[in-house]
């Protein structure tokens, strides 16, 4: 293995000791960056250098490192996941950068995502919205024959496009308003498209939107920054479908109680 083609980078990385501590960008220099490394591996290399010097390594979220878990939340040069089409941070490779480049790395910025430390943020607000209805609770019994519920192919495809959301929060971080509408819209839209999701569609829309609003997410103003950023290429058409689902639910759905 030759390491001839390794290069050096300058980094400006956000350092913040804890949620309420003051934070600032700190300059780092990292050598021996291979073009085959992922962005996260490059930070691993930097962290090894820091540990060897007895310094505190940079905290950052990561898990699968194969583009499907949505953990690797960071803003690279102001863009969530680096801004490459349909790519998460772990799939950004250092071959995209050249010797001597300066890269600014910041955490996801949103009130709904408080900073835990350095680049790691608490994205549990996304789970809290999901808990309010991002699933089907109808008892479906035994597995049915695959053809007993007919779903047209275009509808199935559209639901699948929405289901591709990995809940990474890039939409929230890239939104100038810190709104969670793309992520929430994807789930509401996905389930509203499918017959299995339709019985609970009104409660789902009402409850998820209510939870979203109380968690400190902002209001969507249709910049469509989320759509450009989404590593799964989810369209804002799903936000529009959520808006339709929501207005329909607000004006037609009411829970009847048996106490009368």
């Amino acid at each position: 293995m030759s390491s001839d083609n390794t290069f050096s980078l300058n980094l400006k990385i956000w350092r913040q000791k804890g949620a309420n501590a003051e934070g600032k960008l700190v300059d780092y220099h990292v050598d021996h960056v291979s073009p085959d490394m992922s962005f996260l591996e490059m930070i691993d290399v930097l962290n090894e250098q820091l540990v060897r010097k007895g310094e505190d390594p940079i905290a950052f979220d990561h898990d699968c490192r194969e583009g499907i878990c949505g953990m690797c939340s960071m803003m690279i040069d102001g863009k969530a996941h680096g801004g490459y089409k349909n790519t998460t941070t772990c799939q950004v490779h250092m071959r995209l950068y050249k010797n001597g480049d300066t890269i600014v790395v910041e955490p996801f910025r949103a009130s709904a995502f408080p900073i835990v430390k350095d680049l790691a943020v608490d994205r549990s607000a996304i789970d809290k919205v999901m808990i309010k209805g991002g699933y089907i609770s109808a008892n479906t019994g035994n597995a049915q024959d695959g053809n007993s519920i007919l779903i047209p192919k275009p509808i199935a495809d559209e639901a699948m496009d929405a289901a591709a959301c990995i809940g990474c929060g890039a939409c929230v971080a890239s939104c100038p308003n810190g709104s969670g509408m793309l992520f929430m819209g994807a789930k509401i839209s996905q389930l509203a498209l499918l017959p299995q999701g339709q019985p609970e569609a009104p409660q789902r829309a009402l409850n998820m939107v209510h939870e979203h609003d109380t968690l400190g997410f902002g209001n969507c103003t249709n910049h469509a920054e989320c759509e450009a950023t989404c590593p799964k290429g989810i369209s804002i058409e799903h936000i529009a479908r959520m808006n339709r689902e929501y207005i329909k639910a607000a004006f037609t759905y009411h829970e009847k109680t048996r106490s009368e």
């Binding site: 910025r109 369209s235 808006n243 004006f251």
Partner: protein, 224 residues
């Protein structure tokens, strides 16, 4: 849910946004009517004055229409301001150091500013023209307000004309984002037609902005 779904709607982000969207579209509709009326300035002073006189002659009905228009405007302005103030709180304590907009446009980012400009414009516009100098004229034996003269005299000032052109540029910018954005907010976005909605929004913004600004310039040239 403790509160009813409808109450929830009027407090929610989507519900309030949809009110901003629908009032915005209503105001877009109003501007088309207003611009059509203004075109009568180009026809003749009598044509314009007769049109204005007919509106004034509506009497009580005109007040009802004006009150409705004011209500639509206030709902649009009030809710948009509230939503915008909430959005200013939702990005956390620190501003991002580097920014590279990819979906955002100059128009979408400046919506609150162009909106406030239009509010200032509207107030000055009402003071200087609707409540401006009152002249009288007689057309076909009927005594009526000479709004044509008020308008032409007002636009003699190059500053007033320039301000109108700038304000109409703001209106064009505001509607170039707002028009299609309202459709998206109402849920009227589908791959089949949304590109055309966006195109229509741009055409609307250019026609309305250039229309009003062009008439101001025409009035200025007519008056000097």
């Amino acid at each position: 849910m403790a509160t009813s779904a409808v109450t929830h709607y009027f407090r929610s982000s989507i519900g309030r946004k949809q009110l901003v969207a629908i009032t915005g579209l209503a105001l877009c509709g109003f501007l088309v009517g207003h611009l059509t009326g203004n075109l009568l300035l180009l026809v003749s002073s009598d044509a314009f004055n007769i049109y204005a006189h007919k509106l004034i002659s509506l009497g009580a009905l005109l007040y009802v229409i004006e009150a409705g228009l004011a209500a639509v405007f206030l709902v649009h302005l009030g809710l948009a301001m509230k939503l915008n103030m909430e959005n200013m709180q939702s990005k956390g304590k620190y501003q991002q150091k580097t920014k590279t907009g990819r979906g955002t446009t100059f128009a979408s980012q400046t919506m609150p500013y162009t909106g406030v400009m239009l509010l200032v414009f509207l107030i000055l516009h009402l003071i200087s023209l609707k409540f401006g100098t009152h002249y009288e004229t007689t057309v076909d034996g009927v005594v009526m307000r000479d709004l044509y003269r008020t308008t032409i005299e007002y636009f003699r000032s190059p500053i007033a004309t320039a301000w109108y052109v700038i304000a109409m540029a703001a209106a064009a910018l505001h509607t170039s984002h707002g028009f299609a954005s309202a459709f998206q907010t109402m849920g009227w976005n589908h791959g089949k037609y949304f590109k055309n909605v966006k195109r229509l929004g741009l055409i609307y913004a250019i026609v309305v902005g250039a229309g009003f600004a062009g008439i101001s310039i025409w009035c200025h040239l007519k008056g000097v």
